[in-house]
């Protein structure tokens, strides 16, 4: 690639950012560059990912799409677990809840993908406000149990009392996704230049949202919130005694992580045109914990890799001839090995190898 188009993109994005953040451009020029390089890196990665995945790793585009969806979920979850130090065991409420909200919205209000996405996002944020408000009164294990309880409550609510809305145990089947902006058929093919890389429009849509999510998460972690969240993780009582309203920041961490879960849940409904009841079950909450820890808590990109590896073992390794039936065992072994060898997850391992090879340091 020549330098010219790349520079043009960088300048355009930089200008857009200037408008958002106002003046002071000179002072953070160097940081802005890093922010942009993070976004560009993600863009390139998601663009070439399906091609490499399908050709060299026995993958298929639908699974690549799911990996990105769970990656968004895990990135948000890590803001809560890795950065703020709060372990929620009920994030299925926000993922599954948003998927249902998006599905029902698409069937009864509007089938525009962007509005459907927004509906799921808003639902997750409102739910997080309520669940967070009630659960964050307690810390540690009590918080985990409370969130688990809310998760299971929503599962049983969706299973029967609300079955007239959710279609109960059969899952919500009437998801109706229209054309993006009235033009692009999400379940259709991809026009020529892109078709060399991807064969599916849903993937393109999910990939764009993934890049935006990474950009948002990156910005949040580099805002005052990022520092405050880590301060709460490190020493909650000290954070209170420098004059921070720890309780409200914790609630914000919870809501922000749920917003990412909401985006992921909506995309899940859009991608599959179906919402299974299991998306609210506690195992879904457990999966996201494992994905995040596997990828590396407290890093921006780690959770994406964790989600990818988990789904790879669940969907590809499970199809291997002899090993296949034992995929749960393999997943467990991988998890144990990772936690023992690389307590900071895949991303921690990548950092370690990189610092060994190049001697450079990265945050």
């Amino acid at each position: 690639m020549s330098d010219e188009p790349r520079d043009a993109t960088a300048t355009a994005t930089a200008d857009a950012e200037n408008e958002v953040s106002g003046g002071l451009a000179d002072q953070w020029a160097s940081f802005r560059d890093r922010e942009i390089s993070t976004v560009l890196l993600t863009l390139v990665a998601v663009a070439v990912f399906p091609f490499l995945f399908n050709n060299y790793l026995d993958g298929y585009t639908q699974l690549a799409t799911l990996m990105l969806i769970y990656g968004i979920f895990a990135i948000g979850f890590d803001i809560l677990l890795g950065y703020t130090g709060l372990l929620s065991f009920g994030h299925a409420v926000f993922f599954g809840g948003a998927a249902y909200a998006a599905g029902i919205f698409s069937a009864s209000v509007s089938s525009s993908p962007l509005l459907v996405l927004l509906a799921g996002l808003v639902f997750a944020v409102l739910m997080a406000w309520i669940v967070g408000f009630l659960s964050l009164r307690r810390g540690g294990i009590y918080f985990a149990i409370l969130t688990l309880t809310f998760g299971q409550m929503s599962f049983y609510l969706a299973a029967s009392p609300l079955a007239f809305l959710t279609n109960g145990e059969n899952g919500f089947t009437s998801v109706d996704i229209g054309h993006l902006l009235g033009v692009v058929d999400l379940h259709g093919g991809v026009p020529f230049p892109l078709s060399m890389l991807v064969d599916n429009m849903v993937y393109v849509f999910v990939a764009v949202i993934t890049v935006l999510s990474v950009a948002m998460a990156n910005r949040i972690l580099h805002s005052p919130y990022g520092t405050v969240f880590r301060a709460i993780r490190e020493n909650e009582s000290r954070a209170e005694f420098v004059g921070l309203n720890v309780w409200r920041y914790k609630l914000m961490a919870f809501i922000i992580s749920a917003a990412f879960a909401g985006i992921a849940g909506s995309l899940f409904a859009i991608e599959g045109s179906y919402v299974p009841l299991e998306s609210l079950y506690w195992t879904e909450s457990g999966r996201i914990v494992i994905m995040t820890v596997l990828g590396g808590v407290g890093s921006l990109f780690g959770p994406l890799f964790g989600a990818g590896l988990y789904l790879y073992i669940e969907n590809i390794v499970s199809g291997f001839p002899t090993l296949g039936p034992f995929w749960h065992l393999i997943l467990g072994l991988v998890f144990v090995v990772m936690v023992v060898l690389f307590p900071d997850g895949i991303w921690g391992g990548v950092q370690y190898v990189r610092s060994r090879l190049f001697g450079g340091e990265e945050s």
């Binding site: 958002v20 953040s21 106002g22 002071l24 002072q27 953070w28 940081f31 802005r32 922010e35 948002m216 910005r219 949040i220 580099h222 805002s223 005052p224 919130y225 990022g226 520092t227 405050v228 880590r230 301060a231 490190e234 020493n235 009582s237 000290r238 954070a239 209170e240 005694f241 420098v242 004059g243 921070l244 309203n245 720890v246 409200r248 920041y249 914000m252 922000i256």
Partner: protein, 252 residues
């Protein structure tokens, strides 16, 4: 102006009265030390004033307003900062980030809705943090992880965090506990310097009599939760009740 005032402040734990009807007033710019034998109720008193504990009864006024019923962070936002007995820092963050957190809280208040603003949009916060690090002599170490500092420097950082909140009054709970003689000396210098430069009002809880007599304008002696003596270092030193309860046997 009276910065901090308590009226009949009392804390009972079951049958035990840890703090017993304490009346105390601290004026602007005054350096007051609270001393007393172990279990005299010094730490409980500090915890009441910083709103970590609820008093059984009594009143606490900060700059004329009652702070009973406030959350700890609200009291800090009013201008009362606290340095802890142990090095209460943010261990896995850098030294600079430690100070930034306190500066953020001072500049932005207890909560702000700014999670989409890049932190570099707030140069003032970094400036305050750097200034504080310079004043506690840790500026050169700002890139290190706070955990890697030695104990004396951790305590200095801890005091720095308390100062970065730009307080009107600083509560210090044994700031030199566990320090070597040199570290103690430099910390005492630091406190004196900060008091002189910022006209800081402080309330100090300390065991080391040398320090107490060195830096206090006034000394309050607690025993069994109650104030038994109060005055300048000389007065307190010569008070028979104090010698009886606390300094007893020590020849001065």
């Amino acid at each position: 102006m009276t910065v901090l005032e308590t009226e009949r402040l009392t804390k009972q734990f079951g049958g035990l009265t840890a703090v017993d009807e304490v009346d105390l007033a601290i004026e602007q710019g005054e350096g007051v030390s609270l001393i007393g034998p172990n279990g005299a109720g010094k730490s409980t008193f500090i915890n009441l004033v910083t709103r970590r504990l609820d008093p059984s009864y009594g009143e606490i006024l900060f700059k004329g307003d009652s702070i009973v019923g406030m959350e700890p962070h609200q009291v800090v936002q009013l201008g009362m900062s606290k340095s802890f007995q142990t090095a209460s820092i943010f261990p896995e963050l850098t030294v600079e980030e430690n100070a930034v957190i306190a500066a953020l809280a001072a500049e932005h208040g207890s909560f702000r809705f700014n999670f989409f603003r890049h932190e570099n949009a707030y140069p003032e916060v970094t400036r305050v943090a750097d200034e504080v690090l310079k004043s506690v002599g840790l500026y050169d170490e700002r890139e290190s992880q706070a955990d890697s500092l030695d104990y004396g420097n951790k305590r200095r950082l801890e005091i720095g965090i308390a100062l970065a909140a730009e307080p009107d009054m600083l509560l210090m709970d044994e700031p030199t506990a566990g320090m070597s003689p040199e570290e103690t000396k430099s910390t005492v210098e630091l406190i004196k310097e900060v008091k002189r430069e910022l006209d800081l009002t402080f309330l100090l809880v300390e065991h080391d009599m040398e320090i107490v007599f060195d830096i206090s304008d006034r000394i309050v002696v607690l025993n069994r939760g109650a104030v038994i003596a109060e005055g300048t270092p000389e007065e307190v030193q010569n008070d028979p009740a104090v010698q009886e309860a606390y300094l007893g046997g020590v020849e001065e």
